[in-house]
């Protein structure tokens, strides 16, 4: 199967998958013994006002009708409904929160790759030497340390004790948000103070997230490199007298990078769904906080919208990972057999 056909097939599969996710979320929300209208109105509202909210959001309608109304709006108007708690279109909310998560995930991801992969490679090449032990300790610490603990610790040290970095938020300087990506928007506004402020606020949460992701990357890269370094063709390359640099980076790494890419893809998808604990500690207005707030408030339109977006992100990130295999290793034919 050609790559183009493979991508097309995977994209078409999105439709039944997302439909299945949507139905599942509706069913679960329907079955939860909560009173969403009461949650939105507050405990002090009178029954008449609560009932009015129920009518407004079709909560008294049968489940299949609720799903029908939702799908009709989604297909005809690309409308994810109105959040019952913010009263903003869910699409607008997601457009506001998703860039925050993407920006954080992207930089954490970048940091994890820039440090994690080289460290994993070096650790494999210098096996059982000091650098290897140090790298493995760092990796294990990254993987084992709870995210919220690292976040609190970094905040305590770098904000509270040293005063080097801000504690919370994305930006305290008002700029016009063209894209929702604060760093990019700061540049587009020509506001260098805002850029500096946004960058400084990104550091602590990005480093916290990166530390966690980097731990996995180091371990997997190291393991994969070690396996490849013991393969026959590497021994052949050594026997041929090729320089070590060529052997390690052009031959070994290219084959060893496949498992880390798989991890990266899944990891990035997970990062884009938001990490509520981290976002809570740093008051980062991302998808995790949005989801957590929606769930606590039983904000059904927001819950459904969030779930659809996350499902889409996970599917697309896995697709990108699959495509990257065939780019890195031309022998891999996606959707077919390795020749």
């Amino acid at each position: 199967m050609t790559l183009r056909r493979y991508i097309l097939r995977r994209l078409l599969l999105l439709i039944p998958i997302l439909l299945g996710v949507l139905i599942m979320v509706f069913v679960i929300s329907y079955l939860i013994p909560a009173d969403p209208a009461r949650a939105w109105a507050g405990p002090q509202a009178r029954p008449a006002q609560v009932e009015a909210l129920r009518e407004q959001y079709h909560l008294n309608d049968p489940l299949h009708m609720q799903i029908y109304y939702y799908l009709k709006k989604l297909i005809l108007h690309f409308d994810l409904g109105i959040s019952a708690t913010t009263h903003r279109p869910v699409m607008n909310d997601l457009k506001a929160f998703f860039p925050a998560t993407f920006e954080l995930a992207f930089f954490a991801f970048l940091l994890a790759i820039v440090i994690g992969i080289p460290l994993g490679v070096i650790s494999a090449l210098k096996r059982n030497r000091l650098i290897d032990h140090v790298a493995r300790i760092i990796a294990l610490t990254g993987v084992s340390t709870p995210l919220f603990w690292s976040a609190l610790l970094l905040q305590f040290i770098f904000y509270y004790k040293l005063g080097w970095l801000p504690a919370v938020g994305r930006s305290m300087i008002q700029i016009h948000r063209y894209t929702g990506f604060i760093l990019l928007d700061s540049v587009l506004n020509g506001n260098w103070e805002a850029l500096s402020d946004a960058f400084r606020r990104l550091i602590l949460p990005a480093v916290t997230l990166a530390f966690y992701s980097m731990g996995y990357l180091v371990r997997i890269t190291r393991g994969s490199m070690l396996e490849v370094l013991e393969s026959d063709y590497v021994a052949m390359a050594k026997a041929k007298g090729l320089p070590e640099r060529i052997i390690n980076y052009r031959h070994a790494l290219k084959n060893a990078i496949i498992p880390p890419i798989t991890v990266l893809g899944i990891n990035f998808g997970w990062l884009l769904s938001g990490t509520v604990l981290l976002e809570t500690i740093f008051a980062w207005p991302g998808m995790g906080r949005y989801a957590a707030g929606s769930i606590v408030q039983v904000d059904l339109p927001a819950i459904v919208g969030y779930t659809l977006v996350v499902a889409l992100v996970m599917i697309l990130s896995n697709l990108i990972v699959d495509i990257s295999y065939s780019i890195i290793d031309p022998r891999v034919r996606v959707g077919g057999k390795v020749e």
């Binding site: 009461r38 949650a39 507050g42 913010t86 005063g163 500096s196 500690i281 606590v296």
Partner: protein, 546 residues
């Protein structure tokens, strides 16, 4: 240049750029000061949660009201800390007819909306009719005493309200944020009024006459209020109020300790030790009208008055106040809070206190028997076990601790208390469906009148609709309704005394405490005052220079 060297140069340049961004502005502390500049005209306020809406016709939570009350004005207000009388606001003066049904407000002539247009009587009618037509959560406060024919414009600066019934607390209702006056032209330009529906623009924006305008609301990040320089009243000293939305309590504590945040009200009791002793930070415990209680479902074993009284005698009130509220609360003996008109305190020698002997005696007399020797196991009666399940909100640490303490006491009288931690949205539904027996909860005042508390808790229809309690007393319903519409304050106070004595006798709830509002404030912040009914008022606050 080789590829490797290119990469090295790229990394070096990138690092230098990143470093310059980190330290731009002259160094860490100075950069922070320049970027998060907090001059004496800016107050940084930590709000304990995000507002739901800025629309006075929809918002029904304290966080939203704290913003609405600074962006909008009402006809009347409470003077400073005093919640027992009223002061002019948009109305210079008002009159009440002898039968209490007609209120006439004479408006100020110098009031401007934030867009510069003049505020006149038609805006009052529009605002009140809007609340009634939209029929959203807070509208019941107006619809209980008004309809669409009630508000009449007499002239540009005179408005008359013809109540459908002489509600004694009518003036208090107009002090609530639901009585805020909106700009009709701006509302009409942004969706107008749609019956039974919210206005999304009004949820996110402000169009009032208040001392502050809403500059921005960045969801899940902050709200920023700017001084309205054309304000009709005394201009606020603060130029800007930066309201930060920070969910993590530890982070808020750090910001208060470093002086990066100036004010935090409704500070949790459990975190007081974290901030106590911080130089330059004051902790002010202020008497509020917030009341905490346990709902007794009044079904199963709790359908019996003797059982309800027994569990009331088994609650460790003093221990809870001393250790869980850390002394920052006073004992509550009924729904009406101490300091409010209509308050009546059950005498010391009569009120419920921890007395397991009395509790045991009541249960013995009611026929609840021990399975074996007294003190062993749980009592039963005609095969029915003496037990109840009580719901506690998720992560509501203080209430969980109270439940555990109560469980310990109840075990000693042969009562099995099962504690279930649950999401609060599910809790209310569970109670209304009679799928559980009790709940720890509380009540914050809507307005300064005993009816706001009594009607919500002791009226049988509301007891079921709001709390899921099966408490039903025809006599109580009659008394509550009579007191609601009574205009003679002396007679009304006597009636509330009778209501509260009956509530004590019937024991449909366990009244626990009237808690303090803990305000943590930087000593450079002056002019703050607390009114137990009104949300925070930024107009009087100012900061002395650094």
């Amino acid at each position: 240049m080789s590829k490797g060297k290119c990469v090295l140069v790229f990394l070096l340049v990138g690092s230098l750029f990143a470093a310059s961004l980190v330290f731009a502005g002259g160094g860490p502390r100075e950069a922070e000061a320049a970027v998060e500049a907090v001059p004496s005209e800016t107050l940084t306020y930590l709000l304990y949660g995000e507002p739901a809406s800025l629309d006075p016709a929809f918002a029904y939570d304290a966080r939203s009201n704290s913003m609405i009350n600074n962006v909008y004005d009402r006809l009347i207000t409470y003077p400073g800390e005093d919640a027992s009388r009223f002061a002019p606001m948009l109305a210079e003066k008002w009159e009440i007819s002898p039968d209490g049904k007609v209120l006439t407000f004479y408006l100020r002539k110098d009031v401007k909306f934030h867009d510069g247009s003049a505020m006149k009587a038609d805006a009052v009618k529009y605002s009140f009719d809007r609340v009634l037509k939209m029929n959203q959560p807070p509208s019941w406060m107006m619809s209980q005493m008004m309809d669409l024919n009630s508000t009449k414009v007499i002239d540009d600066y005179t408005v008359q309200i013809n109540l459908t019934a002489p509600y004694a607390a009518a003036l208090s209702v107009f002090c609530h944020s639901v009585g805020s006056i909106v700009n009709p032209a701006v509302v009409e330009a942004h969706g107008g009024i749609v019956e039974g529906e919210v206005n999304p623009w009004m949820d996110q924006n402000g169009t009032g006459t208040g001392p502050f305008t809403l500059r921005e609301w960045v969801p899940a990040e902050r709200l920023t209020l700017d001084r309205f320089d054309d304000y009709w009243g005394t201009a606020p000293k603060l130029k800007t109020v930066s309201v930060l939305l920070i969910p993590e309590m530890g982070t808020r504590v750090m910001m208060l300790k470093r002086g990066d945040a100036d004010l935090h009200d409704y500070f949790p009791f459990v975190n007081i030790p974290d901030i106590m002793g911080t130089e330059g930070v004051l902790i002010k415990p202020l008497a509020s009208f917030d009341v905490d209680f346990a709902v007794l479902g009044n079904r199963g074993p709790l359908a019996e008055k003797a059982v309800r009284q027994a569990v009331s005698w088994a609650f460790p009130y003093k221990t809870v106040i001393d250790f869980i509220y850390q002394g920052y609360a006073i004992r509550s003996t009924g729904p009406v809070p101490n300091g409010m008109y209509g308050y009546y305190e059950i005498p010391e020698n009569k009120r419920y206190k921890l007395d397991l002997d009395k509790a045991n005696q009541l249960l013995d007399q009611a026929g609840w028997k021990w399975p074996g020797a007294p003190g062993s196991g749980f009592r039963t009666k005609n095969g029915q076990p003496l037990e109840m399940e009580i719901l506690v909100g998720e992560a509501a640490e203080a209430r969980i601790q109270q439940a555990l303490m109560w469980q310990n006491s109840l075990t000693k009288i042969g009562f099995n208390l099962k504690i279930r931690e649950i999401n609060w949205a599910i809790a209310y539904k569970t109670m209304r469906n009679h799928e559980s027996d009790g709940m720890f909860t509380g009540w914050l005042p809507d307005y300064a009148d005993p009816d706001n508390y009594v009607d919500a808790t002791l009226n049988s229809a509301n007891a079921q609709a709001i709390w899921g309690s099966s408490y039903k007393s025809a006599k109580m319903d009659e008394l509550v309704d009579e007191a609601k519409w009574m205009s003679d304050r002396t007679a009304r106070a006597a009636l509330y005394k009778e209501i509260l004595e009956l509530a004590f006798e019937d024991a449909p709830y366990v009244w626990i405490a009237q808690r303090n509002n803990i305000v943590v404030i930087n000593e450079k912040v002056k002019g703050y005052y607390y009114n137990p009914i009104q949300p925070i008022d930024f107009r009087t606050i100012y900061k002395v220079a650094e």
